[in-house]
């Protein structure tokens, strides 16, 4: 079943194209790694799905419902941004209270990451006193908290220590088993190797490849994913 479908999505910022006619269909129980060089439109793609960026053309369907200026569909999405600053003077505990308050989630809460990251120990700290990695832990725990069907993680492992990053990967794998769709942007090829069911390659705003890592390797006639990607980037004038 299609969890997320994007049809002919285009967006430019002041005549600078960021996405060019991107179409893709994502099913449940999939980990999709969104890769591409810097400035290839990955973040714009994610932001369009979240409604942060308003596309010039094209349609986005979440669980077969067209999103068109509505916001209720975001109930089913958990988002972990790359950088996240909450108001400096509020405490970690209050961040969780606030988001719980906003989402008013009826079902069970998924507090696995909250306890695994031991966020209880920093619950009374102000957000401004947290390091980048600690903030990422807060973000990760928040994105999984409401058991969303779709998880969108923007460079999830970039700021995390190896232990935390391992915990997060395990969580991603167990969420895949629970029929969720997980969309990850990353520059880390090990993550792609370990997690990806599908790879989505964007360069200069166009979709260059969408399929399994094995297909990408055979297409570029390489054995390692990282060299496959370097080849794919190079074909488009990057690297």
């Amino acid at each position: 079943m299609s969890k997320l479908r994007v049809d002919h999505l285009s967006k430019s910022f002041k005549s600078l194209p960021a996405l060019k006619d991107v179409s893709a269909d994502f099913g449940e129980g999939e980990v999709v790694c969104l890769i591409g060089p810097n400035g290839s439109g990955k973040t714009t793609f994610i932001k369009s799905i979240l409604g942060l960026v308003i596309p010039d053309a094209g349609e986005i369907f979440v669980s077969n419902h067209l999103i068109d200026g509505s916001w209720n569909y975001r109930r089913g999405i958990g988002y972990m941004p790359q950088i996240n600053r909450f108001p400096d003077n509020i405490k970690v505990r209050q961040v969780f209270e606030m988001i719980k308050d906003i989402r008013r989630h009826r079902g069970e809460l998924d507090e696995q990451l909250y306890s695994e990251f031991q966020l209880n120990n920093i619950a009374e700290k102000r957000m401004s006193t947290l390091s980048g990695g600690m903030r990422q832990k807060v973000n990760a725990a928040l994105s999984f908290l409401f058991n969303p069907d779709i998880l969108i993680l923007d460079e999830p492992t970039a700021g995390l220590d190896p232990a935390a990053s391992e915990l997060l990967k395990e969580k991603i794998i167990s969420s895949r088993a629970n029929e969720k769709l997980i969309l990850i942007t990353t520059h880390n090829m090990n993550d792609v190797d370990e997690l990806a069911d599908k790879v989505m390659l964007l360069t200069d705003g166009s979709l260059k490849f969408f399929g399994s890592p094995a297909e990408l390797k055979s297409q570029t006639q390489t054995e390692k994913l990282s060299s496959a990607l370097i080849k794919a980037y190079a074909e488009n004038g990057h690297v």
Binding site: F13, K47, L50, G51, L52, V53, I54, W71, N72, Y73, R74, R75, I77, Y79, P81, I83, N84, R85, F86, P87, D88, N89, I90, Q94, M98, I99, D101, I102, R103
Partner: protein
């Protein structure tokens, strides 16, 4: 309402920021000193008025703009939640303006109570509150229409400079060059274009010190009388915060973040 859930935390955050605490203390020191030094409270209200007309718009517009830019990632995070853009916009606006009003109530209200509270000081606080709401609305509007922080703060500072300082000079210049013509209607219109001037006239109408009203104030009193002049000025002030909010919200609804 989702708006109030976020509003609560914005207020909580802003009230703990150093700049707002310093602002409240500064107002407190000024008010306390003026009430203390002057035996006639209505005279101290008058001196305080001049400080409030300058300081409240400046702090509101600068703090509002900076706070809105610094909340960029927080706003993005909220937008990824099931929440409409309008709720986020208004929770930022009310959170900011209410917190700055609390600072004003503390800074001016407490000294006013200590030195014998009267309706004049209450009126002064009302004008300060209106100016806070107006200039926070303008600050958010300027932060929404520009993506560049420096540009947004620049626009805010320029607007403050225009309303607080440049405007009087422009009025004088017009009066000087067109002194042969009847200028009353033009002056009335010009006054409506500046919330700070409207606030000043409101207070002076109330204190009935015609000598200090200046040209625009005198015209106001002559044409509208004290009571309808007050009502007109108040309604214009309310319009002054609804307009930037309306345009800001419309722009924010379509903005790429």
């Amino acid at each position: 309402m989702v708006t109030f859930k976020v509003l609560k935390y914005v207020v909580y955050d802003v009230l703990r920021s150093r700049m707002v605490i310093a602002y409240a203390l500064l107002l407190f020191i000024f008010s306390y000193a003026l009430f203390y030094l002057e035996s006639d409270p209505s005279k101290s209200v008058l001196s305080l008025l001049n400080i409030i007309l300058l300081l409240v718009p400046l702090v509101s517009i600068i703090f509002g703009t900076i706070h809105f830019y610094n909340s960029k990632e927080f706003i993005e995070m909220l937008l990824a939640q099931p929440m409409s853009r309008r709720s986020i916009f208004f929770s930022e606006f009310f959170g900011l303006s209410m917190s700055l009003t609390v600072a004003l109530l503390f800074g001016v209200g407490i000294p006013a109570i200590v030195f014998g509270f009267n309706s004049n000081s209450l009126f002064l606080i009302l004008i300060g509150t209106l100016l806070t709401f107006i200039f926070v609305a303008i600050s958010i509007w300027s932060a929404v229409i520009t993506n560049d922080k420096a540009k947004g703060i620049g626009i805010s500072l320029l607007l403050w400079f225009y309303f607080a300082i440049l405007y009087d000079g422009i009025v004088l210049l017009i009066l000087f060059y067109f002194s042969d013509y009847p200028m009353e209607k033009v002056m009335m219109t010009l006054t409506a274009l500046n919330p700070i001037d409207l606030g000043r006239i409101l207070m002076l109408l109330r204190l009935d010190v015609s000598a200090l009203m200046g040209y625009t104030g005198a015209v106001f009193q002559k044409f509208l009388g004290t009571s309808s002049g007050t009502i007109t000025a108040l309604s214009l002030l309310i319009l002054w915060f609804i307009a930037p909010l309306y345009f800001g919200n419309r722009f924010f609804g379509k903005k790429d973040l």
